[in-house]
Amino acid sequence: MPEVFASSLEEVQETVRAHPRLRPKGGGSKPALSSPQEGETLLNLSGLRGILEYAPEEFVFTAYAGTPLKEIEETLRTHGQYLPFHPPLVEQGATLGGTVAAGLSGPMRERFGGLRDFILGVRFVDGEGRAVRGGGKVVKNAAGFPFHRLMVGSLGALGVMVELSFKVFPYPRATRTLRVGLAKRAEALAALEHLRTLPLDLLALDLVPPATLEIRLGGFPESLEKRVQRLQSLLQREGEVLREDEAHWEGVRNLAFLKESPIWVKVPSRLDLIPMLEGLPLGPRRYLAGGELLYAGLDPEGLRALRERAIPHLVLKGEAQQALYPPPPEAFFAPIKRALDPKGRFPLG
C-alpha cells in the first residue's frame, strides 16, 4: 500500500496534486475510516502537528490537524480549560483532524454540545490542491460559507484539513458522579427522560444497559454536594457517588467498554429509539448524552441488523463494506463534492 507523509500545508498541496486517489489518516484510531481502499494512497498526517495559537483568555486555539488530542488537552489543562465535547479515543492517539472528519464527541457533550458546536474555523486543501479557509479564529463569526462546519463528519471527502480553530471552556473546578441502578429498562428510560427536561446542567448523562444511569456533575466543590443530593432525591435512590471520577470517565470516552468487540460503531440515537435499538443483537454498548448518542460493539450480525433496519451509523473500526450509512443526500452533497473535489481524489464517491 503506497503511503506518503505530509507535514506542512505545502506538502499536503503537492501530495494532493500528485495522487489521483487519497485517503487521509491522522493517527488511525478509526481504522475503518482511515485504512486506504483499493487504488488509494494513504496520506499520513501524523507529522502535521503542533499548536499554532492559543490564547486562554479568548477561549480559542488553533492547531495543525494532525496534532494528537492528548497534546492539545494537556496544554489546555495547564490553563484550566478543556474541549467540552470531550472527544473519544484520545488515549489511542486520535488527532484533531481525524476527530473532526469522523465527527465524534464523547460523554461530556451533554453539557454544552458536541463537536459541531465548538469548531470555529478550518484551513483545508481541496481536491485541486488549493488552500481554502473557512470560518475564523474568534468565538463568534458569521462571515462567508461555514466550511468548518462542513468538515464535521466529512470523512476526508471534501478536503484535507490542515489547520483547525476551536472554542474551549473553563474546566469545572470539581466533579462528582452518581451511579444509580434501576430495576428495569422502562424505569431507567423514564428517569432519563425526566432528568433531560430539568435545568440540572449535567456534564454527562449516560445509560448503561440494561438499567443503570451514570450522571456526572461539575462545578464549585461547595455546590456539588447539594446538587448530588438533589439528584438522589429526584431519583429516589442513594446510588453510588464517585468522588474521584476522572479515571472512570476517561475510560468511557476512550470507549474502553468496546475493547473486545470486532466492530465499533457510532449510532445517532434518540430516547424513543432506545427500546428498538435494545432489541437488536448489539454487543457492549452505552448511550451517551441523555440517550442521543450510542457507541456499540458488534459482530457482523449486529452490523447486518443495523443495515436491515436502515439505522444510520458510522463504523469506526472493523470490517465494513461501507463505513457510513446512509450515504449523504445526493442532491445537496454531490454538487458540493463536485465543487471541492472535482477529480474525485478523496473518499465518498
Binding site: 458546536d117 460559507f145 430539568l198 434518540r270 443526500p329
Partner: protein, 474 residues
C-alpha cells in the same frame, strides 16, 4: 406561458403582489439605505408552493430572494431587481413540539420568540435570542446564523438546528440532518446555516430546545470609561467564570435607552451587564466570585437584580438600545464586526478616533463576552454626502476588526452591505471555493443573487459602498 402567468396559476390574486404600491414595503429590509424593485412578491402558505415557485424560477431563469420579516441589517433580504420575493411570514406554524425529545419542528416563517413562548409550559426554551426575536423569523435566523446575548455559552443558531428541509435552487427537495443531537456523515445542515439564502430556501426547521435555567443572577456595573468596562470582561473570563451573557453599552447608547424605555440606568461612561445562570446552588457560588471580580475591576456602582422584574428592567434597556438610538439621529448604520476579546479596548479607542475624524457620532452597544461589536454610526440621510461618509466610516471599522484578527460580522451577515469587504477577510482562493459551491448548487445563480460574494464592486446603492476589489483582482 410567461413567468408571471405561470406564477398566477400557483398563487391566488391576494397572494401574488405585483402592483407598485403593494411592492413598496418589500423594496428594502431594515437597512433602508438600499432599495430595489422586485418583479413580484409571492406569499406562500405551504412548502409545496415554495417548491413550485422555485422550480418556476429555475425554468425561467428568474432570480429569487426568500424573506422572513425583513429585519436584516445588511441588505440580506433586499430584492433582486426584476426578481421574485418569496415572503414566508405566512408559513408560521409550529408543526410539532415534542418536550420529551426537547425538539420543535417549525415552518420558516415562525417568529423566534414564539418557539420559546410555546415551549415555556414544559420548562424549555429556544436559546438563540437575537434582539429582534419578537419579530425575526427562524428562516432568517437560519440564513444568517443569528446570535444574541448568549452566544459565548450557548453558541449561535447553527448549534441549535438539528435538521432542515431545503429546496435547492434547482428545485430539488432535500432533508439535511436528523432528529438526534448527533449525526453521521458531513454536517450539511450545519453548513447550510449561515449561507444567507444563497444555497436554497429552508422549508422546515428542526430545533433543539433546552431546559430553562433554574436561576439567574443579573448584575449591572457602572464604569468611568469604556476601557474599564472592557477590562472587567477579561477579568471575569480569567476568573474561570462562564456567564450566560456579558454586554456593554457606552454613554450614547445608555442615554438613548434611558430616554426610550426608562430602565433606570445610571448615566455613566459605560455599563456592563453580566448574567450568570444555572442550578441555584451553582449560581450562588458563582455570584460570590463574580462580586469579588467586579469589585476589583473598579466599578463605580453595582446593582444586582433582586427579582425577575428587576432583571427584566436591566435587560429592557439593553434590548431596546438599537431602536432607541433611532431617537438620537434620523438614520444610522449598525456594524457587527468581531474582535478577539483582549483587543476590545484597542478597537473601541480606534472607533472613537474614527468617529472624531469623520465627524459622525458612534454609539456602542455590544456582546462583550464574544468580542462582537455593534457600533451604530449615526448620520442624516438628508444631508448630502453624509450616508457616504457613514459608509466609509463603517468600512474603516470593518477593516479594523479584520486587522485585529476578528471577523466582518458576528451575526448580521454579509448581505450586500459588507460583500465588498469580503476580500479583506478571505483570500481569493477562499472566495473561489465559496463561488464554486454556489455555482454547483445554483448553476443559474438565482438564489439571493448578488449577496455575500463580492462581484466586482457593484453596489446596490447609488453612492456605492467603497470596495477594495480593484486592489484584490488587480
Amino acid at each position: 406561458m410567461g413567468f408571471l402567468e405561470e406564477l398566477r396559476t400557483l398563487f391566488p390574486p391576494g397572494r401574488l403582489l405585483t402592483k407598485e404600491a403593494e411592492l413598496a414595503p418589500y423594496e428594502s429590509d431594515a437597512l433602508t439605505a438600499y432599495r430595489k424593485r422586485p418583479l413580484a412578491v409571492a406569499l406562500p402558505e405551504r412548502k409545496e408552493e415554495v417548491v413550485e415557485a422555485v422550480r418556476l424560477c429555475y425554468r425561467h431563469g428568474v432570480p429569487f430572494v426568500a424573506r422572513g420579516s425583513g429585519t436584516s441589517l445588511s441588505g440580506g433580504s433586499l430584492p433582486v431587481e426584476g426578481g421574485l420575493v418569496l415572503a414566508l411570514n405566512r408559513m408560521n406554524r409550529i408543526l410539532r413540539l415534542d418536550p420529551k425529545a426537547r425538539m420543535a419542528v417549525v415552518e420558516p416563517g415562525v417568529v423566534n420568540l414564539e418557539v420559546s413562548r410555546r415551549a415555556a409550559p414544559f420548562g424549555l426554551y429556544y436559546a438563540p435570542d437575537p434582539s429582534s426575536q419578537p419579530i425575526s423569523t427562524l428562516g432568517g435566523n437560519v440564513a444568517f446564523n443569528s446570535g444574541g446575548a448568549h452566544c459565548l455559552k450557548y453558541g449561535m443558531t447553527a448549534g441549535h438546528v438539528l435538521a432542515l428541509e431545503v429546496v435547492t435552487p434547482k428545485g430539488e427537495v432535500v432533508r439535511l440532518g436528523g432528529e438526534s443531537l448527533e449525526g453521521v456523515g458531513p454536517d450539511l445542515h450545519g453548513f447550510f446555516v449561515g449561507t444567507e439564502g444563497l444555497l436554497g430556501v429552508a422549508l422546515e426547521i428542526t430545533l433543539r430546545l433546552l431546559p430553562k435555567p433554574e436561576a439567574y443572577h443579573t448584575l449591572l456595573a457602572a464604569y468611568g470609561s469604556l476601557e474599564a468596562a472592557g477590562n472587567a470582561v477579561s477579568q471575569v473570563i480569567r476568573s474561570g467564570l462562564l456567564p450566560g451573557a456579558m454586554e456593554i453599552m457606552d454613554r450614547l447608547a445608555i442615554e438613548a435607552a434611558e430616554a426610550a424605555v426608562k430602565a433606570g440606568y445610571p448615566q455613566v461612561e459605560a455599563l456592563l451587564i453580566v448574567e450568570l445562570e444555572g442550578p441555584k446552588e451553582e449560581v450562588e457560588e458563582e455570584a460570590k466570585l463574580l462580586a469579588q471580580v467586579i469589585q476589583e475591576s473598579g466599578a463605580t456602582e453595582v446593582r444586582i437584580a433582586q427579582s425577575e422584574a428587576e432583571r427584566q428592567a436591566i435587560w429592557k434597556g439593553r434590548k431596546a438600545a438599537f431602536s432607541a438610538v433611532g431617537r438620537l439621529s434620523p438614520d444610522y448604520l449598525v456594524q457587527d464586526g468581531v474582535v478577539p476579546r483582549s483587543r476590545l479596548g484597542e478597537a473601541l479607542r480606534e472607533i472613537r478616533r474614527l468617529s472624531q475624524a469623520y465627524g459622525l457620532r458612534v454609539a456602542n452597544v455590544f456582546h462583550a463576552g464574544d468580542g462582537n461589536l455593534h457600533p451604530l454610526v449615526l448620520y442624516d440621510g438628508k444631508k448630502p454626502g453624509e450616508l457616504e461618509r457613514a459608509e466609509e466610516l463603517a468600512g474603516e471599522i470593518l477593516k479594523l476588526c479584520v486587522r485585529l484578527g476578528g471577523s466582518l460580522t458576528g451575526e448580521h451577515g454579509i448581505g450586500v452591505e459588507k460583500k465588498g469587504y469580503m476580500p479583506k477577510m478571505f483570500a481569493p482562493e477562499d472566495l473561489l471555493a465559496m463561488e464554486r459551491v454556489k455555482e454547483a448548487l445554483d448553476p443559474k445563480g438565482l438564489a439571493n443573487r448578488g449577496k455575500v460574494l463580492p462581484d466586482h464592486g457593484q453596489s446596490p446603492h447609488q453612492g456605492g459602498l467603497k470596495t477594495d476589489l480593484g486592489e484584490l483582482y488587480a
